[in-house]
Every structure is written in structure tokens, then in C-alpha cells.
Symmetry: C2
Subunit: 77 residues, 2 copies
């Protein structure tokens, strides 16, 4: 089954990449863009039919590989 | 208002980064991970109270900057 994961920087952690995108957008005429934060998105295909088990595996995967929990949060959707 | 955007590679486009993650996970003992596709996630803060208008602006932003529509799809959530 497919599990979607979003990994984002914790609020308070500087995001220079997002800032660069915001400034570029302002320069392109999108003056009403006040802030941009960039994160990562993962589509995991886990061969497990039980949704609960698949989500549990995804959580383990996030903690062990995909997210650096010191500066990042993850959300399983 | 905050608009969330996910940019993913179109299906059929090779994703070596996702493949590397999948192989690493298999090596770490997550043998049931069959496929991983990586994408990008953006949190846009647009100073616009009308949700319709904010989403329309986000769509323009995706088409013009965030997504390469030749190889990528975007989704506004």
C-alpha cells in the first residue's frame, strides 16, 4: 500500500532555500508571497495490506532515515 | 493564507534518488518497501484572504517556477 510522507523543517529553523524562492517570486511579480518553506515529500510503496502496520513501518522509516528529528518534523498522510 | 504544494515526478520518469532510498531501506531491514518516489513540498504564505484567489496564485507560481511540467506534476492541497 502507498504511504505518503511529508518532512518539513521545524518552525524556527532557518530555511535559506525557501527564502530564495520567496525573493524570486517577489521579483517575478508575486508580491503577495510573504513566506515560503520548502520540505520533502516521499511516496512509499510498502507491501503490507494492513494500513495500521504500513503506517507504523513508515513512522520507523521516517525516524531512522528520512527525517532528522533534531531539525525536522515528519507527517504521515 | 497558507497554501501547501506537492511537486512529484510524473510516473514513468526515472527517480534515481527514490531508488537509492529504497535500496538503503531494504538494506536496513525494511524488506517490504517495494518502491520510493521522492518529491518536493512547499508551504506558501500568501497574503490573500480569498482561498480561491490564493489557490489560483499558487497554481501560477507552480507553473512558472516550482514545477517543470515536462517531467513533473504538481498538486495544491
Amino acid at each position: 500500500m502507498k504511504i505518503k510522507v511529508i518532512v518539513t523543517l521545524k518552525s524556527g529553523v532557518l530555511d535559506p532555500q525557501g527564502k530564495a524562492i520567496q525573493q524570486t517570486l517577489n521579483g517575478m511579480g508575486f508580491a503577495n508571497v510573504k513566506d515560503v518553506r520548502q520540505g520533502k515529500y516521499f511516496d512509499l510503496d510498502i507491501s503490507e495490506n494492513d494500513e495500521q502496520k504500513a503506517k507504523f513501518a513508515a513512522e520507523e522509516i521516517c525516524k531512522k532515515l528520512l527525517a532528522n528529528q533534531v531539525i525536522e518534523d515528519f507527517k504521515i498522510i
